[in-house]
Amino acid sequence: MKISDLLRMGLRSLFRRKVRTILTVLGVVIGCLFIIITISIGHGMDKSFETQVKEYGSLTAITVSKYGMIYDENGNWAGSQDQKLDKDLLEKIKAIDHVRAVTPVLSGEGELWSGKYRSGIGIMAMDMASFDDFEFPELVYGEYPTEEDNSTMIFGHYLPWEFYDQYYRSFKQVDLEKDQLVFKFYNWQYKRNERKREFVLPVKNIAKMEETKSNFDYNIYMDIDYFEKIYLQYCNTLTLDDRKKAIKVLDEYQEIRLNVDNIDNVEEVQDKIKELGFQSESLLQFLKPTIEASKTLQLIFFFLGAVSMFVSAISIANTMVMSIYERTKEIGVMKVLGCVVKDIRLLFLFEAGMIGFLGGVTGVGLGYLASYLINKYGQPLFGALMTGGSPMGDVAGATYSIIPLYLPVLGLSISVVVGLLSGYFPARRATKISAIEAMRTEN
């Protein structure tokens, strides 16, 4: 038989038994739909994690803070402890297995002045060698500090805040690239030595980060060596007593941040740090319950999809077996008229595959519809499920279901393969029927 004739005959016999074909196809539709929804929600979850992670840092990052929070096994806050983070600890942490990058963090506060207008800022000073490891964003302009010149102040995307003149109570927009700015440390913390000139640092070397919608957007970053340098300059302007106090600040870091080579090793490294007597925090620790919940959810969906696919496979097989019973005589006649066994098998396989294909196409179509509806109206259900256990709250405008391009192809292929597999044995059976027996059956 020619392929075109095969198709025509197959379609004809499917069409002849419309109701049965539709019911069988329906089974495949449900199976395919479930599989598509499952995977699309999986992608939606991944995406929402990605945005969350982007907002709060990398999943492989661990932070050891000066004020260590203590959590019990369930992730509930159980107290806090003061931690002394010094160079000694830094070296110990560096020695832990799987630690990819470590940086001390010194934070400072100060103000920027533009004429009479001022604006407060926070500074995070880190080892510039580790910027790459902590995934510092691209710059809009300026350059990251280098060995030759480490004096760059890297502004977060939302910085600087508005400049304000407290006497005239007026605001001023400042153009970082054009306006002259100076930086000062706050003057209320320590007493200045009256005989010395106030520490004023002209801000010359500026870079600005791209918008990341993360913590990067709100701080000025700089190299820790440069920070220490200007801080010491500042300390020299202080009274003797306060100078000692101020310099001591440099002995202890506010934070030590580290990056682990693999997400699976985060817990292990955190345990090691605990053995050193320090509390640490990681995003993973907070997200773990959410990740587990969503994995469970996906597993349930996938199980449902698999079960319904299995059921529809049985139903296709049943339909094909029935069809063969009904057409026993037809098969016999075809054989006697010289139809090659291969053609009979192909005919039945085609019919089964076609049922799978029709179900797959409909399932994919409905999958897109379902995905649209979930994103539009699924907020109450999926919103709760996806951010459950996460301290991050809701992600506004989140998509819960994402259908990447490969998914319709996958759904369709699974449906067709299920059709072919469940049609295979009935088709083989059809070819085994003896022509003489077949022709004797009455129908």
Binding site: M1, K2, S4, D5, M9, R12, S13, R16, K329, E330, G332, V333, M334, K335, V336, L337, G338, C339, V340, V341, K342, D343, A435, I436, M439
Partner: protein, 265 residues
């Protein structure tokens, strides 16, 4: 037509034994005969005599228990399933007692069926099938389904289907078994005239003495054995030569065309 006396079918010691539980039933018992090319051969016998089984053995539908059946020099029971299917496509036609038309298809599509298996293109096989239906007098019934036609009409569709691929041999198993005597006669005339026109060999099974008279040769079967072989050809030879075969065929077309439609069922 290179050799009129060429043996197209040779049955040598054909034997068929059915096993029903522990019982053995010998349906065909050591039968040997030959059929010549262009011959109309009739297997005649009472029901249960084994004549239908013999036909099925010759057509390769049933497996032999012993012996050989050679058609066109080829031992058909030694062929692969695919080879046999191809052989049927090219050389064999079948007419059945119960017509065995596919109910889901129209008359035209039924006639087309053997050509579909032969990979013939759609246009060509349509034309051949249509012509064949016209030849059997069903030019106006092409689009009808088998259930919408009378027994006689259905059998004529069956005949058209058997002859459409112009096979060298047509096997007919009680082709008129379900028809009344008038229709039977019409059907037999069509079969015979068609076969004569193309020098085709017919092997027909019947239990009807009158129909057996159509044959050139009658092989009487009794209890799975050949009782006697009657050669009618010699007796008929004188009458036959008076009629031109072509003239006879065109008569049949005309006759077929005017046969009134019978009531279905």
């Amino acid at each position: 037509m290179k050799n009129k006396n060429e043996n197209i079918i040779e049955v040598k010691n054909a034997k068929k034994i059915y096993r029903m539980g522990k019982e053995k039933i010998v349906a065909v018992d050591d039968v040997s005969f030959t059929v010549k090319k262009g011959e109309f051969c009739c297997l005649y016998g009472a029901s249960g005599s084994g004549k239908s089984t013999l036909l099925n053995l010759m057509a390769g539908i049933e497996k032999l228990t012993g012996g050989q059946i050679i058609i066109k020099g080829r031992n058909i029971h030694r062929m692969s399933e695919k080879g046999l299917a191809k052989f049927r496509q090219n050389s064999l036609g079948f007419v059945f007692q119960s017509y065995n038309l596919l109910n889901s298809m129209t008359a035209l599509e039924n006639v087309e069926l053997p050509l579909i298996f032969k990979h013939m293109n759609r246009k060509r096989r349509r034309r051949l099938a249509r012509q064949m239906l016209i030849n059997v007098g069903l030019g106006d019934r092409q689009k009808h389904k088998p259930k919408e036609m009378s027994g006689g009409q259905q059998q004529r569709v069956g005949i058209a289907r058997a002859f459409v691929s112009n096979p060298e041999i047509v096997f007919a198993d009680e082709p008129t078994g379900n028809l009344d005597s008038k229709t039977s006669k019409e059907v037999m005339d069509i079969i015979k005239n068609m076969a004569k026109a193309n020098n085709q060999t017919i092997v027909m099974v019947t239990h009807d003495k009158d129909l057996a008279e159509y044959a050139d040769r009658i092989i009487h079967i009794f209890d799975g054995r050949i009782e006697e072989i009657v050669d009618l050809k010699k007796e008929k030879a004188i009458e036959q030569e008076e009629l031109e075969p072509d003239q006879e065929l065109s008569d049949a077309y005309i006759e077929g065309g005017v046969i009134p439609a019978e009531n279905p069922g």
